[in-house]
């Protein structure tokens, strides 16, 4: 597939509500490559929170809405491995054998995780304009296991020569967010996020990067609770700040 002229951007409800700057950074980085970004105002949520909680009808209703909203055959770029995975893998499952099956399939085919899109479709090349920094990377579960996006994300980070990437000891271990899991099983979730933070602290990094704002919401909230000065950032925002964003 060659570089597209236009893409849809699916912001994700979390970015919409709590990390809009990460969303804007992700959009700008696509626009920078000469690709037009379209943000349908009717979009909302991919449906994953309801889907994972067992409220399938409600999830399907919201999923159907997204399928209709993103109706044109443009690629759909998603700055989240879990939302992308939901739409790419689970929408076809949800609508298999129904009248939406074909539409869900054609929708899913067009879904890209944001960092994979940048690397594989846009073949971006960056110069690092930022100050030296020690960072670490958290592999979000669905970005890794459903979208295979982690190698792409890391190759993006690898382009920034002033960034020292120190690996976590247990990079691939879940941070404990799991959506409603964090409030339905708060004690286990807390144990998981605290172990993740201990791991982050041990790297000596000042910044933890991730491609999923669910993880960031979880990790940042817990780091703040522990009074830690480490910054958790979405990869898009990090890259934007170190490239063009640095100039503003």
């Amino acid at each position: 597939m060659r570089k597209p002229d236009k893409v849809y951007f699916f912001g994700t409800c979390l970015i919409d509500m709590a990390f809009p700057e990460a969303g804007m950074a992700a959009i700008r980085l696509i626009q920078k490559e000469g690709v037009e970004v379209i943000f349908p105002r009717q979009q909302s949520c991919c449906g994953q929170p309801a889907y994972n909680s067992g409220f399938m009808e409600e999830a399907a209703a919201v999923a159907r809405k997204q399928i209709r909203v993103f109706e044109r055959p443009y690629p759909i770029v998603v700055p989240s491995g879990s939302c992308a995975g939901m739409m790419k893998l689970h929408y076809p499952e949800m609508f298999a054998g129904t009248s939406m099956a074909s539409a869900a399939h054609h929708f899913a085919e067009r879904v890209f995780e944001w960092s994979s899109f940048l690397v594989r479709m846009l073949q971006v090349r960056y110069r690092d304009l930022g100050a030296p920094v020690k960072a670490t990377w958290h592999s979000s579960c669905h970005a890794m296991r459903e979208m295979g996006a982690v190698t792409d994300a890391k190759s993006l980070i690898g382009q920034f020569e002033n960034v020292e990437l120190v690996p976590l000891q247990r990079e691939e271990e879940c941070c404990g967010f799991g959506g409603t899991f964090s409030v339905k099983q708060p004690a286990i979730s807390a144990a998981m996020v605290n172990d993740k933070i201990d791991d982050i602290v041990n790297t000596g990094a000042s910044t933890v990067l991730a491609g999923d704002c669910g993880c960031l919401l979880n990790i940042n909230g817990a780091m703040a609770h522990r009074g830690l000065a480490i910054e958790g950032k979405h990869l898009a925002e990090f890259i934007w700040e170190r490239t063009d964003g640095n100039r503003t």
Partner: protein
């Protein structure tokens, strides 16, 4: 929630999380098992092909399950293995007890068997004045201590050597305190050897039952399994009905997947394939071999096209080893025979969502288990499905206890969520409201649970919807 779980999961979790020793032991043990598996499956491409083959073999077996069970029974009986059927665990226990009693003995030696745990066989036998002596070292240790196994493959994984030393010193007569692992093993060998020699009845599980030849296959490292199945006059094997495979040629790939996934071994010390009791000219081996085939809900699980994948399981335990939840709470917290990811999907289906549905909530759906399952059970999908079943309406329930979690609050929350996400205006309004609250949402309900460990989430003053509009990003 409207459920009243039959056990205090939350309490178990809190206790386990507070147990620093347990958590340290678990972390160390899981690291070791994960690494061993990785080392033995060093060819990734081959591993993925093998997993696909394992999945296909087990699916093929399920697709012919009644026929294969008939064939297994026919071939076993032809070879002299007596086959018994039990719908429920009590029946299975009764069958075993009857066999034991018919030989006038009051004790059996036992190899490790998860199905026998499912049956609570030891307790049943004890209630009927029959001692069931566990002979697998891990099981032997925890039996001495009055505990149940905390892991499918390494039952005493939660115990340190000083704890084992204590247990042996206190519970085995004339035993000095020693932490030397070789010495401890020698003590177990000595104690059990006498019992193997004297035993009239041995009980075991079955790893695979081959329909083509009527063969029971067992794997082990210690030799206690062979002692239980070969030295006594009577061997009773218990198995779940999903353990049957079609052909002998199905065995090598499944065996490789099992030993590699369970302990990171190319092969166990012994692979023991039993096709017949002692034949006339033979000088040893059991004179009687019995196979007890247990249903206990498996035939019902088979009926559901999605949930039947639960029956693909070959009981390797690797899902436990990779699970971030099991890692932190250990096996006992699950309160049931099967812990970990497989336990989360199997237990609610066997015990009912109303009694054990909480286990299906104890997952972040990270997918680490599905990534390593040797037969590719899509565990997160099945967990999700069980969650959906716990809210399912209607009369016909796919899973016992279905619909038990239905409650007005959650129904309204998700209905509200649905409306907000279907109606752009409502969506914009709710985003605005969240933005106005900023980080000052009242700490009630889920937010209170969140803020025990984390600061309140801060909602942006301007949503991405608003920002894109302002920045002139096109709508279509």
């Amino acid at each position: 929630m409207a459920t009243a779980p039959s056990f205090d999961f939350d309490g178990n979790v809190d206790r386990a999380l507070a147990d620093g020793q347990l958590r340290t032991n678990l972390r160390r043990a899981m690291d070791i098992l994960v690494e061993k598996r990785r080392a033995v499956f060093d060819d990734t491409e081959n591993l993925q092909a093998l997993r696909s083959a394992g999945n296909a073999i087990k699916r093929r077996a399920l697709s012919k399950l009644p026929q294969l069970l008939e064939k297994l029974e026919k071939n076993c009986e032809k070879n002299g293995i007596r086959v018994h059927w039990a719908e429920e665990t009590q029946e299975a226990n009764r069958i075993v007890l009857d066999i034991v009693r018919s030989h006038g003995v009051a004790e059996v030696v036992k190899g490790k068997s998860m199905v026998s745990e499912e049956m609570h066989l030891n307790r049943y036998l004890a209630d009927h004045d029959v001692e069931a002596l566990e002979t697998d070292l891990g099981e032997f240790i925890i039996q001495l201590n009055g505990e149940t196994p905390s892991h499918i493959i390494v039952p005493a994984i939660h115990k340190n050597k000083d704890e084992v030393a204590d247990i042996f010193h206190e519970k085995i007569p004339d035993t000095p305190y020693t932490e030397d692992v070789e010495a401890l093993t020698a003590i177990a060998r000595k104690v059990l050897r006498k019992r193997f020699a004297a035993a009239k009845v041995g009980v075991s599980g079955v790893n695979f039952a081959v329909a083509e030849t009527g063969t029971l296959l067992l794997v082990e490292n210690e030799g206690n399994g062979r002692m239980c199945t070969t030295a006594p006059d009577v061997h009773v094997a218990v198995m779940g009905l999903e353990k049957v495979v079609e052909k002998l040629s199905d065995v090598p790939p499944l065996l490789r997947l099992l030993t590699g996934s369970a302990t990171g071994q190319l092969i166990t010390t012994y692979v023991n394939m039993i096709t017949s009791p002692r034949k006339e000219a033979e000088k040893d081996g059991p004179k009687e071999v019995h196979l007890v085939i247990l249903d206990n809900g498996r035939s019902r699980i088979l009926a559901d096209p999605e949930l039947r994948q639960t029956l693909l399981c070959i009981r390797c335990g690797t899902c436990l080893n990779h699970c971030p939840v099991y890692l932190r709470i250990g096996g006992h917290a699950y309160g049931h025979v099967y812990p970990g990811p497989i336990g989360k999907i199997l237990t609610p289906q066997m015990e009912g969502l109303d009694r054990a549905g909480v286990l299906a909530l104890a997952s972040s759906l990270c997918g680490a288990c599905a990534e390593v399952c040797p037969v590719k059970i899509p565990i997160p999908s099945l967990i999700r499905r069980l969650r959906a079943e716990s809210y399912a309406g209607g009369d016909k329930k796919a899973v016992p206890g279905g619909g038990c979690s239905r409650n007005l609050t959650e129904t309204m929350i998700w209905k509200g969520w649905e409306l907000v996400n279907l109606m752009p205006t409502a969506n914009r309004l709710s985003l605005k409201a969240a933005g106005l609250l900023g980080g000052r949402a009242p700490k009630i309900g889920p937010l209170r649970k969140w803020t025990c460990t984390r600061t309140s989430p801060v909602f942006a003053r301007e949503s991405l919807h608003e920002r894109t509009k302002k920045e002139g990003v096109k709508d279509e």
